[in-house]
C-alpha cells in the first residue's frame, strides 16, 4: 500500500488548463500517480473531470500544462498514441467494436491473446468464446473484457473511468481485486468512481477536483469521506436567498403526476414518486444514476419496460412527446442543443409548439403568437439584442428560450433537466424564483439539478436516486448540501423513502 516517493511518478500531469471559448473547464488540474499506486480522481458534476480524462487519454489537447508519462512528455495526439505511450483507459462505455468478434477486437489493438485469456479467467468470466460477437454479449461482460484487454497490454498507467457503474456486486469485487493485483505488480491506476465503498477498498490516495482545479490530495483512511465531500463542495458562490413567505400551499389530494415502479433500460429500476400541483420536486442524483431515462420516459421519448404513469389520477401511456405534451408534461432537456433550432430566431423557437399540431399548419396567428412570445420574453427577461439567431445568444439566454417556449404555451407540469448547467450566476438567480412562482400559480415542477445547493433554493422536497433506485426523500428544509451529497453518494439514509 505504500507508495515509493523516491522514484519518478508513472503519470505526472501538472497545471493542466483548458478552455472552450469563454468557458474555463480546467484552470489548474494536477494528478500524480506513482508506481503501484491507485489514485481516486474525484469531483462533483462539472468539476472538470471528464475534460481532464480526455486530456490524459489524448482525445483533447491541453491549452497549458504537461502530461508526463514515465518521465517523458507525452505528446498524445490521439488515443492510439496514448496507448503507445503506456496509458490505457477503460471507460463506462466499453471501447469494443460491436460488430467484430472478441478475437478481432484483440487484433485491432495488437493485444496478446494468452494474457487476455488469463485476465478474463481471473475476472471470473467463464466459457468465453473468442469468436463471440461483441454485440451479442451483455454490457457487464463487455466492461470486463475491455478491462482484461487493457490489462493484457501491460499498461504503465491504467485509467478506469466509472467502469464499475451498474456492474453486479460479485463482478465489482473481482474487478477491484484484479486491479489491486495489477497495482501491486507495479502498474499505476487512476480510479474514477462515485462510490466511496470502492474507493476506500482499493485506493491509496484521492485527488479532488473542483471548478477545474486540483484542490486536495488526501490519503485514504477511515473517515476521509467527509473531508472529500467538503473539498468537493468548497466555498460557494452566493446564489441568493429563497424568498420567504413564497411557499406554495396548493396541495390537492390527487397528485398531478404519479410515477409507479417505472423501469427503463439501462439504468432506471423501479422508481416511484408523486408530484403535486404547486410543488417543486427536486431530483438529486450523481451523473448516470437513471435520471436521464426517467425524464425521457416522462417526456414521451421512451417507453418504460415496466411500471405506470398517472396524470391527475388517470393512467397514461406516451408513444410520442406530442402525447406527453397533450397531457401537460413538457420537457426542458439538459442539453440546450437538443431543444433549440440554432439558426432560427428567438420568436420562432418559442412559438414552435404553436404550429406542432396538424390543425395549426395554416396561417400563423401572428398577433396571438407575438403577444405570447413577448410575454414570455418579458417574464424571463431574455436579452433580445441578438434575437435573429438563437445561437448568437449567451448560454443563459438560450436556456431561457427553452423555458420560455413552455411559458408561452402555458405550463402545467414542467420537467426541468438540469436547467442551470453551464450558465451564469445572474441567470441562475432568475431561474429559481421563476420556478417558485410557477409552482405558486399551480404548476407542478420536476427539477433535476446537478448542483446540490440549488435544491433548498428551488424545491419543496427532493427524491434522491442512486443506482437506478429512489434511495431517499428529503424535505427542502433539511436539504443542506452535506446531507444531499452524502445521500447522493448512497452513504446514509436519513429516513426511509416516503
Amino acid at each position: 500500500m505504500l507508495t515509493d516517493n523516491t522514484s519518478q511518478p508513472l503519470l505526472d500531469a501538472a497545471n493542466v488548463t483548458k478552455s472552450f471559448g469563454a468557458v474555463h473547464a480546467l484552470t489548474n488540474a494536477s494528478l500524480r500517480v506513482g508506481v503501484g499506486e491507485i489514485v481516486a480522481l474525484m469531483g462533483a458534476n462539472g468539476a472538470g473531470k471528464s475534460t481532464f480524462v480526455k486530456i490524459l487519454t489524448g482525445a483533447l489537447h491541453p491549452d497549458g500544462g504537461e502530461v508526463i508519462i514515465k518521465g517523458k512528455a507525452a505528446h498524445v495526439g490521439s488515443p492510439a498514441e496514448a496507448r503507445a505511450s503506456g496509458l490505457v483507459p477503460v471507460y463506462q462505455e466499453p471501447s469494443l467494436v460491436p460488430d467484430l468478434s472478441v478475437f478481432d477486437n484483440l487484433r485491432l489493438t495488437d493485444t496478446p491473446v494468452e494474457a487476455f485469456i488469463d485476465f478474463v479467467e481471473k475476472l471470473g468470466i467463464e466459457n468465453l468464446s473468442l469468436n463471440a460477437m461483441i454485440s451479442a454479449l451483455p454490457l457487464a461482460t463487455l466492461r470486463i473484457l475491455d478491462l482484461a484487454r487493457a490489462l493484457a497490454s501491460k499498461p504503465d498507467v491504467l485509467l478506469l473511468d466509472e467502469m464499475t457503474a451498474a456492474l453486479p456486486t460479485d463482478l465489482v469485487e473481482r474487478v477491484l481485486s484484479v486491479v489491486r493485483e495489477a497495482a501491486d505488480a507495479g502498474c499505476g491506476v487512476v480510479y474514477i468512481s462515485h462510490r466511496f465503498a470502492e474507493i476506500s477498498a482499493i485506493c491509496d490516495t484521492a485527488t479532488v477536483l473542483r471548478d477545474g482545479k486540483t484542490v486536495g490530495e488526501l490519503k485514504i483512511e477511515p473517515g476521509v469521506e467527509d473531508r472529500v465531500v467538503e473539498l468537493m463542495l468548497g466555498a460557494k458562490i452566493d446564489l441568493g436567498q429563497r424568498e420567504v413567505g413564497k411557499e406554495s400551499r396548493i396541495r390537492t389530494v390527487t397528485p398531478r403526476l404519479s410515477v409507479n415502479g417505472i423501469t427503463a433500460a439501462p439504468k432506471l429500476k423501479d422508481v416511484s414518486f408523486d408530484l403535486y400541483p404547486g410543488e417543486v420536486l427536486g431530483v438529486v442524483a450523481l451523473e448516470g444514476q437513471g435520471q436521464d431515462e426517467l425524464f425521457e420516459v416522462l417526456a414521451g421519448f421512451e417507453k418504460p419496460s415496466d411500471g405506470s404513469i398517472e396524470v391527475d389520477g388517470e393512467p397514461v401511456t406516451f408513444s410520442h412527446p406530442a402525447d406527453a405534451i397533450a397531457k401537460g408534461l413538457t420537457l426542458v432537456p439538459g442539453d440546450r442543443a437538443d431543444a433549440l433550432m440554432a439558426e432560427r430566431s428567438v420568436r420562432e423557437n418559442i412559438a414552435l409548439p404553436f404550429s406542432a399540431s396538424i390543425r395549426n399548419w395554416g396561417p400563423l396567428r401572428q398577433r396571438h403568437e407575438k403577444s405570447r412570445v413577448a410575454h414570455a420574453i418579458e417574464r424571463l427577461q431574455i436579452d433580445t439584442r441578438a434575437q435573429g439567431e438563437v445561437q448568437r445568444l449567451s448560454g443563459g439566454n438560450q436556456q431561457k428560450v427553452t423555458i420560455g417556449r413552455w411559458l408561452a404555451k402555458g405550463v402545467e407540469t414542467l420537467l426541468l433537466f438540469d436547467p442551470t448547467r453551464g450558465i451564469d450566476v445572474r441567470t441562475k438567480r432568475q431561474i429559481y424564483p421563476l420556478v417558485r412562482e410557477l409552482a405558486e400559480q399551480g404548476a407542478a415542477v420536476l427539477f433535476y439539478t446537478s448542483e446540490l445547493e440549488e435544491v433548498p433554493l428551488a424545491c419543496d422536497r427532493a427524491v434522491v436516486i442512486f443506482n437506478g433506485h429512489v434511495v431517499d426523500v428529503i424535505d427542502a428544509s433539511k436539504a443542506d448540501e452535506q446531507t444531499l451529497m452524502r445521500a447522493a453518494y448512497g452513504l446514509s439514509k436519513t429516513e426511509s423513502a416516503a
Binding site: S78, V97, P98, D99, S101, D104, L108, T109, A132, M133
Partner: protein, 313 residues
Amino acid sequence: MTALVSRNAWSLGLIGLLLVLVAMTKIIQPDFGLSGLESLSRAALPFAFATAGMAVVVIVGGIDLSVASMMAVCSVTAAVLMPSLGGVAGVLLVLAIGAAMGAINGALIVLTRVPDIVVTLAMLFVWEGTALLILETPGGGVPGWLRQGIGGYFVIPGLPKALLLIAVIVAVIWIPLRRSKSGLAIYATGSHENAAFRSGVVVGRTRVLAYGICGLFCAFGGLSLVSLTGIGEPVPGPYLLASVAAVVLGGVVLGGGRGGLLGPIIAVFVLRIIRTILTLAGVDPNVTTIVEGTVMVAVVMLATVVTYRRVRV
C-alpha cells in the same frame, strides 16, 4: 460462433432462394439450361462489380452514389484508349483510374466533412460529365480477347467464364483485405466509429481506402460493360439503385459494420433472375423494369425498418 453461423445462414438462405428461382425458371421455360445460366452471369457482371464496390463503402459506414458514373468513366476510357494502348496496359490504367476516382470521393468526404451522401451526389454529376467529355456518344472499341474473355465456359461446360471472373476478382481483392488489419479497420469504423478510434484505428485513412476499393470494383464494372457491348457508353446505367438494393438484400446493414461481399453478390443473381423469369413468362420488358424497381425499393424500405428496430432496442 452463433453470429458466424447466422451470418452464413443469411447467405445460405439467399442461395436457397436463388435455387428456388432457378427451378421456377426451369418450370416456366423448360429450355432454360446452361446457356441461360451463362447469359445470366454475363448480364450480371457489371451489376456484381457495382454491388461489390457499394458493399465495401456501406460496410465502412458510408454510401457512394457515384458508382454508375464511375463505371461510365472507366468504360469510355477503356473504349478510347484500348485501340491504341493495347489490352493489358489499358486494363491496368483503367483500374488505376477507377481506384483514384474512388479515393478522390473518399478524400473529399474526409477533408470537407460534408456528408458522404451529398459529396457523392455531386461527384455523380462530376464523373458523369467527365465520361461525356471523354466520349460524347457511344463509340470506341476493345480488343477481341476482352469480349471473348467474358463469354462462354471455362474448361468444363457449365462453368460460365463470367461467373468465374466475378468469383476470382472479388476473392483476390477482398479475401486478403478482409483478413488484414486494414479490413478489420474498415469493419471497425463502420460498426462503431468512436470505439474504433479509441482502439487506435485511423478512421479517415480507412475511409479513403474503402472508397478507393469501391472505385477499383467500379473499374472492373466499367471494363465488363465495354466487354459486353464492345463500345464505350458515356451515359451511366441503372446500377446505383440496383447495387444499393443488392447490398441490403445481401445482408449488409446500411450504417455499416456488418455483412460481407458474398451475400450481396448472390443477391445480384437473385435480382437478375427475377428479370429473367419475367422475360421468359412473356411479361413486357417495361413492366419488368417497374417490377424490378418496386422490388428494389421494397427491399431498401424493409432493410431500413429492420435497421431502425435494431437501433432502438
